[in-house]
Subunit: 188 residues, 2 copies
Amino acid sequence: MILSVPLPQAYRLLNHGPVTLVGSAHGTTTNVMAAAWVMPLDFDPPKVALVIDKNTLTRALVDASGEFSLSIPGRALAGQTLRVGSFSGRERSKLAGENALETLPAEFISAPMIAGCSAWLECRVIPDHHQQQRHDLFVAEVVAARADDQAFADGRWTFLDEAFRTLHYVAGGHFFLTGEDLDMSRNG
Amino acid sequence: MILSVPLPQAYRLLNHGPVTLVGSAHGTTTNVMAAAWVMPLDFDPPKVALVIDKNTLTRALVDASGEFSLSIPGRALAGQTLRVGSFSGRERSKLAGENALETLPAEFISAPMIAGCSAWLECRVIPDHHQQQRHDLFVAEVVAARADDQAFADGRWTFLDEAFRTLHYVAGGHFFLTGEDLDMSRNG
Protein backbone atom coordinates (compact mmCIF):
# COMPACT_ATOMS: atom_id res chain seq x y z
CA MET A 1 0.00 0.00 0.00
CA ILE A 2 1.30 3.45 -0.88
CA LEU A 3 1.31 5.83 2.08
CA SER A 4 2.26 9.48 2.57
CA VAL A 5 5.64 10.21 4.12
CA PRO A 6 5.58 13.26 6.43
CA LEU A 7 7.71 15.96 4.83
CA PRO A 8 10.23 16.22 7.71
CA GLN A 9 11.03 12.52 7.09
CA ALA A 10 11.37 12.87 3.31
CA TYR A 11 15.18 13.23 3.48
CA ARG A 12 15.35 9.65 4.78
CA LEU A 13 14.22 8.40 1.40
CA LEU A 14 17.43 9.73 -0.18
CA ASN A 15 19.88 9.87 2.71
CA HIS A 16 21.46 6.48 1.96
CA GLY A 17 22.24 7.49 -1.62
CA PRO A 18 19.95 5.32 -3.76
CA VAL A 19 19.70 5.68 -7.51
CA THR A 20 16.57 7.53 -8.67
CA LEU A 21 14.35 7.88 -11.70
CA VAL A 22 13.66 11.51 -12.59
CA GLY A 23 10.23 12.10 -14.11
CA SER A 24 9.47 15.26 -16.05
CA ALA A 25 6.72 16.73 -18.19
CA HIS A 26 5.94 19.82 -20.20
CA GLY A 27 2.85 20.14 -22.36
CA THR A 28 2.22 16.69 -23.80
CA THR A 29 5.86 15.56 -23.59
CA THR A 30 6.91 13.36 -20.68
CA ASN A 31 10.18 11.64 -19.90
CA VAL A 32 12.12 9.67 -17.31
CA MET A 33 15.86 9.33 -16.81
CA ALA A 34 18.03 7.52 -14.27
CA ALA A 35 20.02 9.73 -11.87
CA ALA A 36 22.48 8.76 -9.16
CA TRP A 37 23.67 12.32 -8.60
CA VAL A 38 20.97 13.41 -6.19
CA MET A 39 21.13 14.17 -2.47
CA PRO A 40 19.13 15.75 0.33
CA LEU A 41 19.94 19.40 0.98
CA ASP A 42 17.70 20.29 3.90
CA PHE A 43 15.30 18.69 6.38
CA ASP A 44 12.25 20.90 6.80
CA PRO A 45 11.09 22.11 4.42
CA PRO A 46 12.92 19.27 2.68
CA LYS A 47 15.10 20.17 -0.27
CA VAL A 48 17.16 18.14 -2.70
CA ALA A 49 20.04 18.81 -5.07
CA LEU A 50 20.15 17.04 -8.44
CA VAL A 51 22.44 17.13 -11.47
CA ILE A 52 20.65 17.30 -14.85
CA ASP A 53 22.92 17.39 -17.89
CA LYS A 54 22.23 20.12 -20.47
CA ASN A 55 21.95 17.61 -23.31
CA THR A 56 19.03 15.66 -21.89
CA LEU A 57 15.36 15.88 -22.75
CA THR A 58 14.75 15.90 -19.00
CA ARG A 59 16.68 19.17 -18.76
CA ALA A 60 14.50 20.82 -21.39
CA LEU A 61 11.33 19.64 -19.65
CA VAL A 62 12.50 20.66 -16.15
CA ASP A 63 13.72 24.04 -17.43
CA ALA A 64 10.29 24.62 -18.97
CA SER A 65 8.10 23.29 -16.13
CA GLY A 66 10.16 23.97 -12.99
CA GLU A 67 9.18 20.56 -11.63
CA PHE A 68 10.35 16.96 -11.48
CA SER A 69 9.53 13.77 -9.64
CA LEU A 70 12.01 11.38 -8.07
CA SER A 71 10.98 7.71 -8.02
CA ILE A 72 13.26 5.37 -6.07
CA PRO A 73 13.36 1.98 -7.79
CA GLY A 74 13.94 -1.32 -6.03
CA ARG A 75 15.66 -4.52 -7.11
CA ALA A 76 12.73 -5.54 -9.34
CA LEU A 77 13.27 -2.42 -11.47
CA ALA A 78 17.09 -2.60 -11.80
CA GLY A 79 16.95 -3.69 -15.43
CA GLN A 80 14.50 -0.93 -16.35
CA THR A 81 16.59 1.62 -14.44
CA LEU A 82 19.65 0.70 -16.49
CA ARG A 83 17.57 0.72 -19.68
CA VAL A 84 16.10 4.21 -19.23
CA GLY A 85 19.59 5.47 -18.44
CA SER A 86 20.94 4.08 -21.71
CA PHE A 87 19.17 6.22 -24.34
CA SER A 88 17.54 9.63 -24.64
CA GLY A 89 13.82 10.29 -24.57
CA ARG A 90 14.50 12.33 -27.70
CA GLU A 91 15.26 9.05 -29.56
CA ARG A 92 12.09 7.26 -28.47
CA SER A 93 9.62 7.41 -25.62
CA LYS A 94 10.42 5.59 -22.41
CA LEU A 95 6.85 5.99 -21.19
CA ALA A 96 4.86 4.78 -24.21
CA GLY A 97 5.04 1.74 -26.47
CA GLU A 98 6.95 -1.49 -25.98
CA ASN A 99 8.94 -1.83 -22.74
CA ALA A 100 7.45 1.42 -21.47
CA LEU A 101 7.57 2.04 -17.75
CA GLU A 102 4.19 2.33 -16.09
CA THR A 103 3.49 5.65 -14.45
CA LEU A 104 1.53 7.00 -11.51
CA PRO A 105 0.19 10.54 -11.33
CA ALA A 106 1.83 12.89 -8.85
CA GLU A 107 -0.36 14.91 -6.52
CA PHE A 108 1.07 18.43 -6.82
CA ILE A 109 3.11 18.41 -10.02
CA SER A 110 2.43 17.27 -13.57
CA ALA A 111 5.59 15.15 -13.94
CA PRO A 112 4.81 11.42 -13.95
CA MET A 113 6.13 9.06 -11.29
CA ILE A 114 7.21 5.48 -12.00
CA ALA A 115 4.88 2.71 -10.79
CA GLY A 116 6.27 -0.18 -8.78
CA CYS A 117 8.99 1.88 -7.12
CA SER A 118 9.77 1.91 -3.40
CA ALA A 119 9.22 5.64 -2.79
CA TRP A 120 8.50 8.90 -4.56
CA LEU A 121 9.21 12.61 -4.07
CA GLU A 122 7.49 15.51 -5.83
CA CYS A 123 9.87 18.43 -6.34
CA ARG A 124 9.63 22.07 -7.40
CA VAL A 125 12.80 23.75 -8.62
CA ILE A 126 14.10 26.73 -6.65
CA PRO A 127 15.34 28.79 -9.59
CA ASP A 128 19.04 29.62 -9.69
CA HIS A 129 19.98 30.23 -13.29
CA HIS A 130 23.68 30.65 -12.60
CA GLN A 131 24.12 27.34 -10.77
CA GLN A 132 21.94 25.49 -13.27
CA GLN A 133 24.01 26.80 -16.18
CA ARG A 134 27.43 26.50 -14.58
CA HIS A 135 27.21 23.07 -12.95
CA ASP A 136 23.91 21.57 -14.23
CA LEU A 137 22.99 21.66 -10.56
CA PHE A 138 19.35 22.04 -9.51
CA VAL A 139 18.02 22.73 -6.04
CA ALA A 140 14.37 21.88 -5.44
CA GLU A 141 11.87 21.83 -2.63
CA VAL A 142 10.15 18.53 -1.90
CA VAL A 143 6.42 19.25 -1.80
CA ALA A 144 5.15 15.69 -1.28
CA ALA A 145 6.58 12.26 -0.53
CA ARG A 146 5.13 8.77 -0.56
CA ALA A 147 6.44 5.25 -0.04
CA ASP A 148 5.26 1.68 -0.46
CA ASP A 149 4.75 0.36 3.04
CA GLN A 150 6.51 -2.88 2.08
CA ALA A 151 9.67 -0.77 1.60
CA PHE A 152 9.48 2.18 4.01
CA ALA A 153 7.12 2.71 6.95
CA ASP A 154 7.04 4.78 10.15
CA GLY A 155 10.08 6.77 9.02
CA ARG A 156 12.35 3.80 8.25
CA TRP A 157 13.36 1.59 5.36
CA THR A 158 12.20 -1.94 6.18
CA PHE A 159 12.43 -3.73 2.79
CA LEU A 160 9.76 -6.23 3.94
CA ASP A 161 9.52 -7.21 0.29
CA GLU A 162 12.96 -7.77 -1.31
CA ALA A 163 11.65 -6.54 -4.67
CA PHE A 164 11.66 -3.05 -3.11
CA ARG A 165 15.24 -3.19 -1.79
CA THR A 166 16.85 -0.02 -3.13
CA LEU A 167 19.78 0.24 -5.53
CA HIS A 168 23.04 2.17 -5.63
CA TYR A 169 24.55 2.72 -9.05
CA VAL A 170 28.29 2.46 -9.63
CA ALA A 171 29.12 2.31 -13.35
CA GLY A 172 28.98 0.02 -16.37
CA GLY A 173 25.64 -1.59 -15.52
CA HIS A 174 26.70 -2.45 -11.97
CA PHE A 175 24.50 -1.70 -8.99
CA PHE A 176 24.89 -2.50 -5.35
CA LEU A 177 21.80 -3.47 -3.44
CA THR A 178 21.25 -1.64 -0.17
CA GLY A 179 22.73 -4.12 2.29
CA GLU A 180 22.63 -5.19 5.89
CA ASP A 181 21.29 -2.83 8.56
CA LEU A 182 23.96 -1.74 11.03
CA ASP A 183 22.48 -0.17 14.17
CA MET A 184 25.33 1.66 15.87
CA SER A 185 23.00 3.47 18.27
CA ARG A 186 23.05 0.33 20.44
CA ASN A 187 26.85 0.32 20.63
CA GLY A 188 27.69 3.47 22.23
CA MET B 1 48.07 -0.94 0.08
CA ILE B 2 46.91 2.60 -0.75
CA LEU B 3 46.94 3.35 -4.46
CA SER B 4 46.13 6.39 -6.58
CA VAL B 5 42.78 6.43 -8.34
CA PRO B 6 42.92 8.06 -11.80
CA LEU B 7 40.91 11.28 -11.63
CA PRO B 8 38.38 10.28 -14.33
CA GLN B 9 37.44 7.31 -12.08
CA ALA B 10 37.16 9.37 -8.90
CA TYR B 11 33.37 9.77 -9.23
CA ARG B 12 33.05 6.00 -8.74
CA LEU B 13 34.17 6.41 -5.15
CA LEU B 14 31.02 8.43 -4.40
CA ASN B 15 28.55 7.31 -7.05
CA HIS B 16 26.86 4.70 -4.85
CA GLY B 17 26.15 7.28 -2.15
CA PRO B 18 28.38 6.26 0.78
CA VAL B 19 28.67 8.30 3.95
CA THR B 20 31.88 10.35 4.15
CA LEU B 21 34.14 12.00 6.69
CA VAL B 22 34.96 15.59 5.81
CA GLY B 23 38.43 16.68 6.92
CA SER B 24 39.31 20.37 7.20
CA ALA B 25 42.15 22.55 8.44
CA HIS B 26 43.06 26.19 8.81
CA GLY B 27 46.17 27.35 10.60
CA THR B 28 46.68 24.92 13.46
CA THR B 29 43.00 23.97 13.77
CA THR B 30 41.85 20.71 12.21
CA ASN B 31 38.51 18.95 12.26
CA VAL B 32 36.47 16.10 10.87
CA MET B 33 32.72 15.68 10.54
CA ALA B 34 30.45 13.01 9.10
CA ALA B 35 28.54 13.92 5.94
CA ALA B 36 26.02 11.90 3.98
CA TRP B 37 24.95 14.83 1.82
CA VAL B 38 27.67 14.60 -0.79
CA MET B 39 27.50 13.55 -4.45
CA PRO B 40 29.54 13.60 -7.64
CA LEU B 41 28.85 16.56 -9.90
CA ASP B 42 31.10 15.92 -12.89
CA PHE B 43 33.40 13.27 -14.34
CA ASP B 44 36.53 14.92 -15.71
CA PRO B 45 37.75 17.06 -14.13
CA PRO B 46 35.85 15.40 -11.30
CA LYS B 47 33.72 17.65 -9.12
CA VAL B 48 31.61 17.03 -6.04
CA ALA B 49 28.78 18.83 -4.26
CA LEU B 50 28.65 18.82 -0.47
CA VAL B 51 26.39 20.38 2.16
CA ILE B 52 28.22 22.02 5.10
CA ASP B 53 25.98 23.59 7.73
CA LYS B 54 26.78 27.17 8.77
CA ASN B 55 27.00 26.25 12.45
CA THR B 56 29.84 23.75 12.10
CA LEU B 57 33.53 24.21 12.79
CA THR B 58 34.10 22.47 9.46
CA ARG B 59 32.28 25.33 7.73
CA ALA B 60 34.56 27.94 9.32
CA LEU B 61 37.66 25.97 8.34
CA VAL B 62 36.49 25.31 4.78
CA ASP B 63 35.41 28.94 4.34
CA ALA B 64 38.88 30.02 5.47
CA SER B 65 40.98 27.46 3.59
CA GLY B 66 38.93 26.70 0.46
CA GLU B 67 39.77 23.02 0.83
CA PHE B 68 38.46 19.79 2.34
CA SER B 69 39.14 16.09 2.19
CA LEU B 70 36.57 13.33 1.88
CA SER B 71 37.45 10.02 3.53
CA ILE B 72 35.08 7.12 2.87
CA PRO B 73 34.87 4.92 5.95
CA GLY B 74 34.16 1.20 5.90
CA ARG B 75 32.34 -1.06 8.33
CA ALA B 76 35.23 -1.06 10.80
CA LEU B 77 34.82 2.70 11.24
CA ALA B 78 31.01 2.83 11.58
CA GLY B 79 31.16 3.56 15.32
CA GLN B 80 33.71 6.34 14.88
CA THR B 81 31.70 7.79 11.98
CA LEU B 82 28.63 8.03 14.20
CA ARG B 83 30.73 9.44 17.02
CA VAL B 84 32.33 12.29 15.05
CA GLY B 85 28.88 13.16 13.72
CA SER B 86 27.50 13.48 17.26
CA PHE B 87 29.36 16.52 18.61
CA SER B 88 31.12 19.63 17.33
CA GLY B 89 34.86 20.03 17.02
CA ARG B 90 34.28 23.32 18.85
CA GLU B 91 33.42 21.29 21.99
CA ARG B 92 36.50 19.08 21.88
CA SER B 93 38.96 17.83 19.30
CA LYS B 94 38.06 14.75 17.28
CA LEU B 95 41.63 14.41 16.05
CA ALA B 96 43.60 14.65 19.32
CA GLY B 97 43.32 13.02 22.73
CA GLU B 98 41.33 9.99 23.75
CA ASN B 99 39.28 8.26 21.02
CA ALA B 100 40.89 10.50 18.40
CA LEU B 101 40.74 9.35 14.81
CA GLU B 102 44.14 8.72 13.24
CA THR B 103 44.93 10.88 10.26
CA LEU B 104 46.91 10.64 7.04
CA PRO B 105 48.38 13.64 5.27
CA ALA B 106 46.81 14.65 1.98
CA GLU B 107 49.05 15.28 -1.02
CA PHE B 108 47.76 18.59 -2.38
CA ILE B 109 45.75 20.12 0.46
CA SER B 110 46.41 20.73 4.14
CA ALA B 111 43.20 19.14 5.41
CA PRO B 112 43.82 15.81 7.15
CA MET B 113 42.40 12.54 5.86
CA ILE B 114 41.18 9.73 8.12
CA ALA B 115 43.40 6.64 8.35
CA GLY B 116 41.89 3.19 7.88
CA CYS B 117 39.23 4.36 5.44
CA SER B 118 38.42 2.70 2.12
CA ALA B 119 39.09 5.71 -0.14
CA TRP B 120 39.96 9.39 -0.05
CA LEU B 121 39.38 12.47 -2.21
CA GLU B 122 41.21 15.80 -1.96
CA CYS B 123 38.94 18.71 -2.88
CA ARG B 124 39.34 22.43 -3.62
CA VAL B 125 36.24 24.59 -3.33
CA ILE B 126 35.03 26.37 -6.46
CA PRO B 127 33.88 29.60 -4.81
CA ASP B 128 30.22 30.51 -5.13
CA HIS B 129 29.34 32.75 -2.23
CA HIS B 130 25.65 32.93 -3.09
CA GLN B 131 25.06 29.16 -3.18
CA GLN B 132 27.21 28.62 -0.08
CA GLN B 133 25.20 31.18 1.86
CA ARG B 134 21.76 30.31 0.57
CA HIS B 135 21.85 26.51 0.70
CA ASP B 136 25.10 25.64 2.56
CA LEU B 137 25.98 24.00 -0.75
CA PHE B 138 29.63 23.72 -1.81
CA VAL B 139 30.94 22.68 -5.20
CA ALA B 140 34.57 21.52 -5.31
CA GLU B 141 37.04 20.07 -7.76
CA VAL B 142 38.64 16.76 -6.87
CA VAL B 143 42.40 17.21 -7.26
CA ALA B 144 43.52 13.76 -6.07
CA ALA B 145 41.95 10.43 -5.17
CA ARG B 146 43.27 7.31 -3.52
CA ALA B 147 41.84 3.99 -2.37
CA ASP B 148 42.89 0.99 -0.34
CA ASP B 149 43.32 -1.83 -2.84
CA GLN B 150 41.45 -4.19 -0.51
CA ALA B 151 38.37 -1.98 -1.07
CA PHE B 152 38.65 -0.49 -4.58
CA ALA B 153 41.00 -1.46 -7.41
CA ASP B 154 41.13 -1.11 -11.19
CA GLY B 155 38.18 1.29 -11.14
CA ARG B 156 35.80 -0.90 -9.11
CA TRP B 157 34.75 -1.48 -5.55
CA THR B 158 35.76 -5.02 -4.63
CA PHE B 159 35.50 -5.06 -0.80
CA LEU B 160 38.06 -7.89 -0.64
CA ASP B 161 38.30 -7.10 3.06
CA GLU B 162 34.87 -6.74 4.70
CA ALA B 163 36.25 -4.14 7.12
CA PHE B 164 36.35 -1.77 4.13
CA ARG B 165 32.75 -2.36 3.00
CA THR B 166 31.27 1.13 2.71
CA LEU B 167 28.37 2.57 4.70
CA HIS B 168 25.19 4.45 3.86
CA TYR B 169 23.74 6.57 6.63
CA VAL B 170 20.00 6.74 7.23
CA ALA B 171 19.17 8.36 10.58
CA GLY B 172 19.26 7.71 14.33
CA GLY B 173 22.54 5.78 14.36
CA HIS B 174 21.43 3.41 11.58
CA PHE B 175 23.63 2.62 8.62
CA PHE B 176 23.17 0.25 5.75
CA LEU B 177 26.21 -1.60 4.53
CA THR B 178 26.79 -1.50 0.79
CA GLY B 179 25.20 -4.78 -0.27
CA GLU B 180 25.23 -7.40 -2.98
CA ASP B 181 26.64 -6.59 -6.42
CA LEU B 182 23.99 -6.68 -9.13
CA ASP B 183 25.51 -6.79 -12.62
CA MET B 184 22.70 -5.83 -15.00
CA SER B 185 25.09 -5.41 -17.94
CA ARG B 186 24.88 -9.19 -18.43
CA ASN B 187 21.09 -9.14 -18.63
CA GLY B 188 20.52 -6.51 -21.20
